[in-house]
């Protein structure tokens, strides 16, 4: 703050600064204590071979990172994580957008549909895994029963290495869809009716209206949806953790970076290496988000 005092700041501007600082203070303070300090501890820890219970850490420099680069499993996890994100994000956002637009129109039973589409969001992670594991069960599951009734071969949903990640992604789309839809719907409903009326007078077709009026106006929300769902997908963990054991033949093809981090930090008690894996994940997410923020100016339309 002292640095700014030397510059002559107009009273109004000064006032705005103070308000700005005041308003962000609680959040920043909370984040600092709850999150930022632990993040720096993690960064720091990634340079150590961790001793037990936070003691006797041995400095190894970039040793953990060297090990990480040579570790094929880490690169499998990177590929799995990215593939999962590519499978889940575009599909769930596109579907959510279509459904949101349909529901925003004059459709009967909007509120029932909205409830149904939102329902998967409300299921607790343990419940989601339970019900899907039961649906995916190769012998007793509903899905394989339906497939065999249709004359198709049953599928080993969770143990076939070719299928495992797709099964996990289906659950991902199913779970995240409602989140996207609610946000997009909220944003669609904020669009003033007059905008549509104006374009009606211009004689625009429904399709044109969608691209000329609707899409540009929901871009701030769409941007938010993309940024957050990509981050969430990159951090996929719960479902894989509860469904795929290390003994599973699909493990190599489904293990995600967070799962690998979790196993190393909490199962093998190798916190230094686990931290290095988190740092790798962070770097990946930061790169992706950086490009998204760059692109924000190009396609996101703020009033």
């Amino acid at each position: 703050m002292a640095g700014y005092k030397r510059i002559r700041v107009p009273r109004n501007t000064w006032n705005m600064w103070l308000w700005g600082w005041f308003l962000v203070a609680p959040t920043m303070l909370g984040l600092l204590i709850l999150n930022i300090i632990p993040i720096f501890q993690t960064l720091y820890l990634s340079l150590f071979k961790s001793g037990a219970f936070g003691r006797g850490n041995q400095y190894v420099g970039i040793g953990n990172y060297e090990r990480l680069i040579a570790d094929a499993q880490v690169w499998h996890a990177v590929a799995n994580t990215l593939l999962y994100t590519v499978l889940v994000v575009p599909l769930s956002v596109a579907l959510a957008m279509i459904i949101a637009v349909l529901l925003n129109g004059k459709v009967k039973g909007t509120s029932i549909f909205r409830t149904i589409y939102f329902i998967p969001m409300i299921a607790a992670p343990a419940a989601v895994t339970m019900v899907w594991r039961w649906l995916y069960n190769p012998q007793f599951g509903l899905i394989n029963y339906v497939l065999t009734q249709l004359g198709l071969d049953p599928v080993r949903w969770t143990t076939d290495p070719q299928v495992g990640l797709i099964s996990i992604s289906l659950i991902g789309i199913w779970s995240i869809f409602g989140y996207n839809m609610v946000l997009l719907l909220a944003s669609l409903q904020e669009i003033p009716r007059d905008f549509y009326e104006a374009s009606d007078i211009d004689g625009a077709s429904k399709m044109q209206q969608f691209f000329i009026v609707t899409v540009p106006l929901v871009t701030p929300t769409l941007f938010f949806v993309f940024v957050t769902t990509i981050i969430q997908s990159m951090q996929v963990f719960d479902v894989i953790y509860m469904m795929i054991d290390v003994t599973n033949p699909a493990y190599e093809r489904t293990v995600s970076l967070v799962y690998l981090f979790y196993n190393n930090s909490f199962r093998y008690m190798d916190k230094g290496y686990g931290s290095a894996i988190v740092v790798l994940l962070l770097v990946l997410i930061m790169i992706i988000t950086y490009f998204q923020l760059k692109a924000e100016k190009k396609w996101v339309n703020y009033m």
Partner: protein, 276 residues
């Protein structure tokens, strides 16, 4: 109405209904299984869709062996305080990030974004140590702890504030409002749908948070629905009818909350939309 638009409408309904069916089948299956016997749930020949008798045995067993009333209360209180904190602090910070110019703004917002990128699992042990140092394990405070502030909420509401026309602030400035008054009286009411959306998401994330309550609240009475469900799963392993009954018990309050909030949500949107 022309034939084309009628056909389009029919197609739209078909799409909506198919999608809805896919969304709800897993949960209907959960509900149906919860009333079956183990034998019915695993019978393949014939395949059993509906239980022969709608028995509630699974529910009574699960209820008798657990403290569901405590889980409901704990979960509700955790959600309530997390919503309160995240709405209040996030709205304040979000407005500042969206509309005010001040030194360090971009840097601080960068921190907010950065926090979201970090997998929450790395916070478990540090936050455990903090709560433990305060002597607050096995309490509602412990459940709320990681949710005092919300980077997600700050980012979400910032987007909503950014979507509001600038003219409104200029007008309120002319009316003699200071920044706080403008924020509170003019801008905040306009982001009501954003606030409701954040409320819903905060409630959901809190409700779904499994690992934190499992580790911080270990006594029998202090579990939340999600952590209790994980414990039940590890205890009764693969008795699917009972597991599904437990899932349904954890599920219905959230469904109820959502249905109540949904009405709010829609009303909130309708009124703010009209003012623009």
């Amino acid at each position: 109405m022309g034939i084309a638009s009628k056909a389009a409408k029919a197609a739209a309904y078909l799409f909506l209904i198919t999608g809805a069916a896919l969304m709800i089948i897993p949960l209907l299956w959960m509900l149906l299984t919860s009333f079956k016997t183990v034998a019915e749930s695993t019978s393949m020949n014939p395949f059993v869709f509906f239980p022969s008798v709608w028995r509630v045995d699974n529910y009574t067993r699960v209820l008798n062996q657990n403290h569901f009333s405590a889980y409901y209360v704990n979960t509700f209180l955790m959600m309530f305080f997390r919503i309160l904190c995240s709405l209040l602090f996030s709205a304040m910070a979000a407005y500042a990030f969206a509309r005010l110019q001040f030194p360090g703004r971009n840097f601080l917002f960068g921190i907010v974004l950065f926090q979201m990128m970090v997998p929450t699992q790395i916070f478990i042990i540090p936050q455990y140590l903090m709560v433990d140092a305060l002597g607050m394990r096995n309490s509602i405070f412990a459940l709320v702890f990681p949710g005092f502030v919300s980077a997600f909420g700050t980012f979400l509401l910032r987007q909503f504030f950014l979507g509001l026309p600038r003219e409104l602030e200029e007008a309120s400035k002319l009316d003699g409002c200071n920044i706080g008054q403008t924020f509170l009286l003019v801008m905040l009411p306009l982001t009501r749908s954003g606030l409701v959306a954040l409320g819903i998401f905060t409630a959901l994330f809190a409700y779904k948070d499994m690992m934190w309550p499992l580790i911080i609240n270990t006594s029998a009475q202090s579990a939340t629905l999600a952590s209790a469900l994980a414990k039940i799963q590890s205890a009764i392993s693969v008795n699917y009818p009972e597991l599904m009954a437990a899932s349904v018990l954890a599920f219905w309050p959230m469904l109820l909350v959502y249905i109540v909030f949904q009405k709010q949500f829609v009303e909130g949107i309708a009124s703010s939309g009209g003012k623009l």
